[in-house]
């Protein structure tokens, strides 16, 4: 296999693992490879890494794939090997002969060729290994051998039986090898794609339908979402000038130039710092959603300079400090223990907020309320809610229930809806991300 082919295949493997490699970078990598040569793997690794991996996450994927990919390369026979030369020109030899030759290098080379021919690099899911192994066997001439096998069996002689036994053993041996090869290929080319696919599925899966195994993975996913939001909203943008001359600043800046206004200063628009108040209903029907919202907010800590979190079922209490701790493990359980008892009472919670934290909501504040609005037929205290809506920059109500359920039974959502700036349903992680994205955009 030529060096260029090796490199392009490697880049393909990188791309499948979500390392974005542009053609320009591929050219850089080829240049780097030409400079340091192919012989010293360590040098090659440290030469290709700066050209191909452009972030820490990418460097991690790069290291993993480089080891996988080039370990395989090293075990494959080099072209200068005379055996391999012969193999490359020779037509596919008899599979039985090959399996019995015990020539590891020749078998490996044959596997490589069969793998190339059957396109095993397109493997995306581990379930495809069997399929590709079969395809490779076909390339290796399994059909001819099976025909012979049939003949031998039909002969019904002891020699035929023995021959057939050998062939069956050879077939099994080669199938195992082909599977192993396909699995190794999956590690290099497919794993990244599978991981990406799994994440895709999870982010759009309703939170209520997640099982325990998913929850573990979700944790990592939520952090990914938080990072994405953080990157997006921590980008500082140059303050837009409003087109008004700032006379004082201009005069001051040009004082050294005899007051001749060489450099003009414009009035700048001030941006609000993000200030978010979240109020979560932690009764059992909503608790699961609260977990994800709080986890997301916890991971977003650096982007939101001022975050206050409250939890309630009947009485409301502040849980900001819980969120501030470095470990999220156990936080949710503690919150549930402290605030999760009692029957839900929205009116009481709003009253508690007003009396215990009277100054918490001002015109810079965005309020996110997460709850189903089922207040056990208690007074929803619409007057208090109206007051909050009038005072805050924005009030967003998130409900885990579909819109058709709003207003049924003891739900008072439609009444709250008339005052809130927005009301929506959250069911997936994507919904949460979108909501927070909108809120943070208010402060960009």
């Amino acid at each position: 296999m030529s060096a260029t082919r090796t490199l392009t295949d490697f880049i393909r493997a990188l791309r499948s693992a979500e390392v974005q490699v542009s053609p320009a970078e591929a050219i850089d990598a080829a240049g780097a490879m030409r400079l340091v040569g192919y012989a010293d793997r360590t040098a090659l690794k440290s030469a290709l890494r700066p050209a191909l991996a452009k972030s820490e996450a990418e460097a991690e994927a790069f290291d993993r794939l480089f080891d996988l990919y080039f370990a395989r390369q090293a075990s494959a026979p080099r072209p200068q090997n005379s055996d391999a030369d012969r193999d490359q020109t020779a037509p596919p030899q008899d599979m039985l002969e090959l399996a019995q030759s015990g020539d590891e290098a020749a078998i490996q080379a044959a596997m490589e060729r069969a793998g190339q021919a059957s396109g095993v690099q397109d493997i995306r899911f581990s379930t495809q290994t069997a399929y590709f192994a079969q395809k490779m066997l076909k390339q290796l001439g399994v059909e001819q051998m099976e025909a012979k096998l049939l003949e031998a069996l039909q002969a019904r002689t002891p020699e035929g039986e023995a021959e057939a036994g050998e062939m069956i053993a050879a077939r099994r041996d080669m199938l195992m090898r082909a599977r192993a090869y396909a699995e190794a290929q999956f590690d290099v080319f497919g794993q990244g794609a599978t991981e990406a696919f799994r994440e895709d599925v999870l982010t759009s899966k309703p939170i209520s339908a997640l099982d325990l195994a998913d929850l573990k993975r979700m944790r990592a996913l939520v952090e990914k979402v938080a990072k994405r939001l953080a990157v997006k909203h921590s980008r500082r943008r140059r303050n837009r000038s409003t087109g008004q001359l700032d006379v004082r600043a201009t005069l001051r800046a040009n004082a050294g130039l005899g007051g001749v206004p060489f450099r003009l200063h414009w009035k700048q628009k001030k941006r609000d710092k993000a200030k978010i108040v979240v109020i979560c209903d932690v009764s059992s029907s909503v608790a699961r959603y609260v977990r994800f919202l709080l986890l997301l907010l916890h991971s977003l800590g650096d982007v939101i300079p001022e975050l206050r979190a409250f939890a309630f079922s009947s009485r409301l209490g502040e849980v900001t400090d819980e969120l501030d701790s470095d470990q999220f493990e156990g936080v949710m359980e503690r919150i549930l223990r402290q605030h999760g008892m009692g029957s839900t009472d929205y009116g009481q919670a709003l009253w508690d907020l007003k009396t215990s934290y009277p100054d918490i909501i001002d015109r810079r504040t965005s309020v996110i309320i997460l709850g189903d609005g089922r207040s056990n037929y208690g007074d929803p205290r619409m007057d208090l809610f109206k007051e909050i809506c009038a005072r805050a920059k924005r009030v967003i109500w998130l409900s885990p229930e579909p819109e058709s359920m709003w207003g049924t039974g003891d739900s008072v959502l439609p009444r709250y809806r008339t005052h809130a700036h927005a009301m929506g349903r959250i069911s997936t992680l994507t919904d949460l991300e979108r909501t927070l994205d909108r809120v943070l955009a208010l402060y960009d």
């Binding site: 850089d28 980008r235 470095d326």
Partner: protein
């Protein structure tokens, strides 16, 4: 520009090993990865973008490179609101103004009598004079392009600058040229070695990342850290050096808000030698811990662990 010109300026960068050795001469302890990135940067004509925690020697790499190669270091410190006039060039307004004043007094003398169009023409000649290199104040980027024997251009903490500035850098970084509208495009006589550093305050744009070689410098392993501290604090006892590096390495395993980086280790080593400490003890560590840890909460969190950490470090092999 010819290849020979470039190679004479950066001839010492012949191989990664030569770079490691050369940087070692000026007290920078390199790793194969770092040397390789520098080697590639020179040979592929690409800027290096270095990321990593604060205080691991990102800026120092550029400084040491310049010192070793004996070329000037042009440093551009980025911050929010940095613009072209601070990074590229500025007209010397004061000087222009002064000349205008002088000219004003002698306007009649210089211009003489004549009809209006002739006078305007004459005035136009002066205008060109005002916007010439004589009145140009070169800032780091332009200065790096003008160096005749090569230079190291350090664009420090590029993540602190605005996105608009990042876009502006692209011309400089990919073609080694800058455009001054009044003068035209200025090409680098000898392309500088460009080093960009970032503390990941914000994610850099893809366009910039794709144009650079990416190098991540993390915390060093014990052996390299010993070498660095040994190079920076020449008088230090070998046994103390071993102990304090072992302590810092163990400290990085702890859950801290800000992990101590090499800069802090060096400071600590200096402090300990100044205090004539011969071996690491619990009391000494407790008294000097504020050199290593920059947050009160970190110091408090370690309160109970200092003793065992110090003992472990003191008995380190």
């Amino acid at each position: 520009m010819t290849q020979t010109e470039t190679s004479s300026a950066y001839g010492a960068l012949a191989s990664p090993e030569a770079i490691t050795a050369g940087l070692g001469e000026v007290g920078y302890i390199s790793t194969p990865d770092i040397s390789m990135a520098v080697y590639l940067a020179q040979n592929l004509r690409k800027p290096i973008l270095i990321e990593g925690p604060a205080g691991v020697g990102k800026t120092d790499l550029a400084r040491s490179l310049a010192e070793w190669l004996d070329v000037p270091l042009d440093r551009l410190q980025c911050y929010e609101g940095l613009d072209e006039s601070k990074a590229l060039y500025e007209w010397k307004y004061g000087k222009q103004l002064l000349y205008t004043q002088i000219l004003k007094d002698r306007l009649n003398e210089v211009l003489g009598e004549g009809d209006l169009s002739a006078l305007t023409g004459k005035l136009g000649d002066f205008e060109d004079l005002f916007f010439s290199e004589q009145f140009l104040e070169p800032r780091p980027l332009l200065r790096a392009m003008q160096q005749t024997k090569g230079s190291v251009l350090l664009i420090d903490e590029v993540d602190k600058a605005d996105e608009a500035f990042e876009a502006f850098l692209l011309e400089v970084l990919s073609d080694y040229q800058v455009t001054v509208p009044e003068l035209g495009t200025i090409f680098a006589q000898v392309p500088p070695i460009v080093v960009l550093t970032s503390n990941a305050v914000r994610e850099l744009g893809d366009a910039l990342k794709r144009r650079c070689l990416h190098l991540h410098i993390g915390f060093p392993d014990a052996a390299r850290e010993r070498a660095i501290v040994g190079a920076r604090v020449p008088g230090i006892e070998a046994s103390l050096l071993k102990q304090l590096v072992a302590f810092v390495q163990a400290l990085r395993e702890e859950d801290l808000r800000k992990q101590p980086s090499i800069a802090e280790t060096v400071d600590w080593a200096r402090a300990l030698t100044l205090l004539h400490v011969e071996a690491l003890g619990e009391e000494t560590v407790r008294q000097t811990l504020n050199v290593l840890l920059k947050y009160e909460s970190d110091i408090a969190a370690l309160e109970n662990k200092v003793g065992s950490l110090a003992r472990a470090a003191a008995s380190a092999p």
